[in-house]
């Protein structure tokens, strides 16, 4: 069953495109990784699920959650979706947890708002904290964000996200602000707990390998478009899009020590600067004339989908 579906989503801010064409689905219980460089539109894509777009933004196309088009939700419906069905974990827990209120306030706020009694909410918050591996739970509930480390605080945020057993968790680079050793722990806890709760996950990262370790499928994004989707376990074997391949080559560990690490040539582009045809044409080492002018469709190849004119197609295009 499809839990979340983007269908030709396009977002413009004051006439400038941020997302050009995003089509992607997440099934119930599935984890999908959305990977790309900064500015590629990953955050905007997840924010559009909760309609958290900045002022002046206009979205066309559809974003469906279950059976409902989120653009048609009224205030109450939107709030219900945000508070019960979908949870979001942001990049920097320091910035996203209110600095002057206690951890307990933060964890119980949504529950209290849904009519759970104070003591029940406290008990549930304590249980959630213990579940994500936080110790001294009673004391933590009374503490404020500045008294906790970043890793601990992000666990608190994950606990809060799980509080209502949401059907979908949106995680926007949840470990970027943490140091490397805590990153893995936090990701592991997030993945483990969301499996227990049966929640689907849309995981945003600029790190292909991290996303592949956590997710079932990987969607690669560039300049406001999804250029390739493939199963996480086939990432190295089946990556076909030149951009995905370039990303894979630019990771440390892919080359022998002493050799130069490959980089993606050129600098990242926004949806506004990218060429009219294939968004990657300006930076693609193999780009041909067709690439700049005609937009390639996202078509099946091997185990996944890729949007590239240069790939051999077994079946004639149907899109």
């Amino acid at each position: 069953m499809t839990m979340l579906e983007f269908d030709h989503l396009r977002v413009e801010i004051n006439g400038r495109p941020i997302l050009r064409d995003v089509t992607l689905s997440v099934a119930a219980g599935e984890a999908v990784g959305l990977v790309g460089e900064s500015g590629s539109g990953k955050s905007m894509t997840v924010k559009s699920v909760l309609r958290l777009l900045p002022p002046g933004a206009r979205a066309t196309g559809t974003v469906r959650f279950g059976d409902t088009d989120v653009h048609t939700l009224d205030g109450a419906g939107l709030r219900r979706m945000r508070s019960q069905d979908v949870a979001m974990v942001f990049q920097d827990p320091r910035a996203t947890v209110n600095p002057v209120r206690t951890i307990g306030d933060f964890l119980t706020e949504v529950l209290r708002d849904q009519g759970v009694s104070r003591s029940d909410a406290r008990t549930r918050a304590a249980g959630l904290l213990a579940d994500v591996g936080v110790d001294h739970v009673a004391r933590r509930l009374r503490q404020r964000p500045h008294e906790l480390s970043g890793g601990l605080l992000q666990r608190v945020v994950i606990a809060a996200a799980l509080a209502t057993s949401p059907k979908l968790i949106l995680a926007d680079e949840p470990t970027t602000a943490l140091d490397v050793t805590t990153q893995e722990e936090v990701v592991a806890i997030l993945n483990e707990r969301r499996r227990e709760h049966g929640s689907a996950l849309l995981f945003i990262s600029h790190d292909l390998e991290l996303a592949a370790a956590v997710c079932d499928r990987i969607a690669v994004m560039y300049a406001g478009e999804i250029v390739e989707i493939l199963p996480a376990d086939r990432l190295h074997e089946d990556a076909r899009h030149p951009y995905t391949q370039a990303l894979l080559r630019s990771r440390p560990g892919t080359v022998a020590p002493g050799e130069r690490l490959a980089t993606v040539p050129g600098s990242p582009q926004s949806a506004f600067d990218a060429p009219a045809g294939c968004v990657f044409a300006d930076r693609c080492p193999q780009a041909a004339g067709l690439c700049r002018d005609v937009r390639p469709a996202l078509l099946p190849i091997d185990s996944g989908l890729a949007a590239c004119h240069l790939l051999p197609r077994e079946t004639p295009s149907v899109a």
Binding site: L52, R82, F90, A95, N98, V100, R101, E109
Partner: protein
């Protein structure tokens, strides 16, 4: 927390102590004989002069004199007015209620209207914001005496809703009499508080944790109250506190303009009569009031935002 309060209290008392030395010592900076200045610049007989010298221990060293003065202050006997021939305590006690009421009245006006209009300007639409910006710009440019003159003009000649002179008798009548002075006093401060509130509310609205709260599906009003206003409160409170503390000095203008008999007008009139015994006590009182309010605001702020406890206090 206890340490924080103790440190703040200590700093405040130290500053009041220094202020008292400065205020008392200023008398010695003036040209001429302190005795003749204490006599209010009037010609007095040598006998009176000798009495003044004895009463104020003017032949003792400075620190002894200061000790006598401070001792008098602390034991509730700060001396007798040379000009009015009345104990300073009597002069103050008959007026302090009026001034306290005026400051309280103006504070309520400033806080309620300033904060509410600031929140509106920050959180409501562009039209409201634009209109309020125009109003606050005008108010900020109008010092208390200008506001007083305009209010007197309007309410003395056009409307007669409020009296433009005197302090009134009894609570209701006093509130009635103090309305215009309180408005004149609060105008510029109100605009200032409104501006700061608007800026702080804007800043919090743009903060990530507010976006996160909205992403969690909290109702708009709950987000505004629990996250935006709660977090904007400490800086707004700090500014309001300094503002309210400043009101004590502002009472001089407001009371004088509207003929209100309070500490501010007593200070002005005593200064004009060079009645130094009264001026010294009143200046110290106003400085102390300013410092006490500032200290209370610091402590209240630390309660609202405990991060302040761990940071170095300026």
């Amino acid at each position: 927390m206890i340490w924080f309060v103790a440190r703040k209290l200590g700093g405040m008392l130290a500053t009041v102590a220094v202020a008292s030395v400065v205020i008392f010592g200023a008398l010695y900076l003036a040209p001429g004989d302190p005795a003749s200045i204490l006599a209010g610049g009037h010609e007095v007989t040598p006998a009176t002069m000798a009495a003044i010298r004895a009463q104020y221990h003017l032949d003792d060293p400075f620190w002894v004199q200061y000790g006598h003065w401070l001792g008098g202050l602390l034991t509730g006997d700060p001396g007798t007015s040379m000009v009015l021939k009345e104990p300073v305590t009597t002069l103050i006690s008959s007026r302090i209620g009026t001034t306290a009421l005026l400051v309280a009245y103006a504070s309520v006006v400033i806080l309620v209207i300033g904060v509410v209009s600031g929140v509106l300007a920050g959180a409501a639409g562009k039209v409201v914001d634009g209109a309020l910006t125009v109003v606050t710009t005008i108010l900020m440019a109008a010092p208390a005496f200008v506001a007083a003159i305009l209010l007197i003009w309007i309410f003395a000649t056009k409307l007669s809703w409020f009296p433009v002179f005197g302090s009134g008798e009894g609570f209701g009548d006093r509130i009635h009499h103090l309305t215009l002075p309180a408005l004149a006093l609060s105008g510029g401060y109100l605009a200032y508080v409104s501006r700061i509130t608007r800026t702080e509310v804007r800043a919090e609205l743009a903060a990530d944790h507010v976006a996160a709260a909205r992403a969690r599906g909290l109702p708009r009003l709950a987000v505004l109250r629990r996250h935006v206003l709660r977090n904007a409160a400490p800086p707004i409170l700090a500014v309001s506190g300094v503002t309210v503390a400043g009101l004590f000095a502002g009472t001089a203008v407001a009371e004088q303009a509207f003929g209100v008999s309070g500490l501010g007008s007593l200070l002005v009139q005593s200064a004009a009569r060079q009645d130094l015994v009264v001026v010294q006590v009143l200046s110290l009182l106003l400085v102390a009031a300013f410092l006490v309010v500032n200290m209370l605001v610091d402590v209240l702020n630390a309660v609202l935002d405990p991060r302040l406890l761990t940071e170095r206090t300026a």
